[in-house]
Amino acid sequence: MSTSVHDEALALLRDMVRVRRFEERCVELYSAAKIRGFLHLYVGEEAVAAGVMRALAPDDAVVATYREHGHALLRGVSARSIMAEMYGKLEGCSHGRGGSMHLFDVAHRFYGGNAIVGGGLPVAVGLALAEQMQTTGRVVACFFGEGTVAEGEFHESMNLAALWRLPVVFCCENNLYAMGTALARSESETDIALKASSYEMPAWPVDGMDVLAVRDAARHAVEAVRGGGGPHLLELRTYRFRAHSMYDPDLYRDKAEVARWKERDPIPALIQQAQIAQDDVDGIESDAKAEIDDAVAFAEQGTDEPVADLTRFVTSEIGRT
């Protein structure tokens, strides 16, 4: 393995570990009632965001769902501002107004944090339309789950993007479940990549537990899209190791199934595949811990927005931009 390849593997490992540890800390903080509301974790799926984000340029745009801590973090939104957001503090990336499901950071072109299933897809299509009309050469990455494929907005958005050859990469995170509903109980045809043919859109399935495979597929797709090849769909096959949200008793999955998937945990898989030394792993782990400790400390010292400001952000405070 060349140095640069090894360095990239290290970087991807760092990405995944940061997300994993961040999510685990969130669980603790939720139990301690520091974080409230809904909390959807990305544990097990880290390779997807890690691989895709590496394929994007800094000024490409990202649209994600309520399960988006990892996407925000790997997009460059600081752990501090994400954690402060989950604490509901003024220093949060959404000013404490959004919470876990609504992380936003326009400076990093991170457009949320959408919690209506399917609701982000048309927005991503529109962002891509803006890029196209302004000939920026930028690309939009849009994340959503396999359960979303049943929504009408998936269909409408795929068609519109393909019809107008818009620069979007649709990243379907197929973790096999939408809350408690298994894919086979929500789709008559469970091959998601195949559905892209209805729109004449290139698409293929990717092993979403293999971060290198995800990165390669995403690079391929992003390049094609940026080159004017029209939208692409990636079906990233993955699994969530934890329940849908903190409210979910997780009664609908076979423990053995979960255990089987955990054997394919993308973090040890990468360590093994890229032969990453334990020292390197330890360094990454301690960096991650330090980063998250710092984020928590930052959030703990965050400011509660005064109640007098309640009705801010309903309409813009500035004039036309």
């Binding site: 107004r97 049943a150 929504e151 009408g152 408690g180 009664l251 509660d304 009705t311």
Partner: protein, 325 residues
Amino acid sequence: MSSVTYREACRQALRDALQRDPRVFLMGEDVGRYGGCFAVSMGLLDEFGPERIRDTPLSESAFVGAGIGAALGGMRPIVEIMTVNFSLLALDQILNNAATLLHMSGGQCNVPLVIRMATGGGRQVGAQHSHSLEGWYAHIPGLRILTPATVEDARGMLWPALEDPDPVLIFEHASLYGASAELSDDAGPVDLTRAALRRPGSDVTLVAYGGTVRVALEAAEALASQGIDAEVIDLRTLRPLDDETIVHSVRRTHRAVIVDEAWRSGSISAEIAARIMELAFFDLDEPVARVCSAEVPMPYARQLEDAALPSAPDVVAAAQRVCHG
């Protein structure tokens, strides 16, 4: 009598309906294997099987429309939309089909469909998951809108809703599921046509529904200690409104405060205020007051959400204003 939660009461009502009428079935997202997003239908899949407890794909428009079609076809579907926040995706089916087919067909196609959904804020789930739109839905002719605020109504409203030949929407306030109350073991259907007097009083009428009934009751207690005797009306049904009960009360108290969790402008509180004025103007000593949610998408931060929602102190203050000018 036994102590029953609102959630259990909803479940008993479902079980009862499924047992009584073979045409009844439940469909919606995660109502089966998962047991319902709020655990309302937990256990029903085992009891009634997947034909009658149907998990649907995430396709709000299609499965609400399928409920309409199934109702036309002789079934008695109960469609669960997980929460009101997602119901907008099915609004075309609700307004342009469910509420309209009877009329467009000149009386042929009644739609005996019941749609249940959780509603309301207060759980720090943010701007896309905290809507209170039941009063907004009450604008639509052809629908009946129910807002059970008590365990008894959670238990008793479903059956008469299913007996209605026309579409009925039932809004269950998500923060009520854990509330419990004594319920008679043979509790059953309740009357849907009348608002309920939850607390008699003579100085001011507090009008509430769904999630705000307990806010109004709490305020009434606080007011009592200040020598203001508040009457609390639980509307129960938002369409059609029971004008008579409201006006009857206001004629006696001469003052009214409406407590509504919806955004103020264009909420049903406005309709109620307008009707009180239309029907009892000269009985009023003071203008009708409204305590509603702030006109802001729901913020995540606790202190902001608390401030956005109507609270008992807000109601107390409004009642004091109308009582003492």
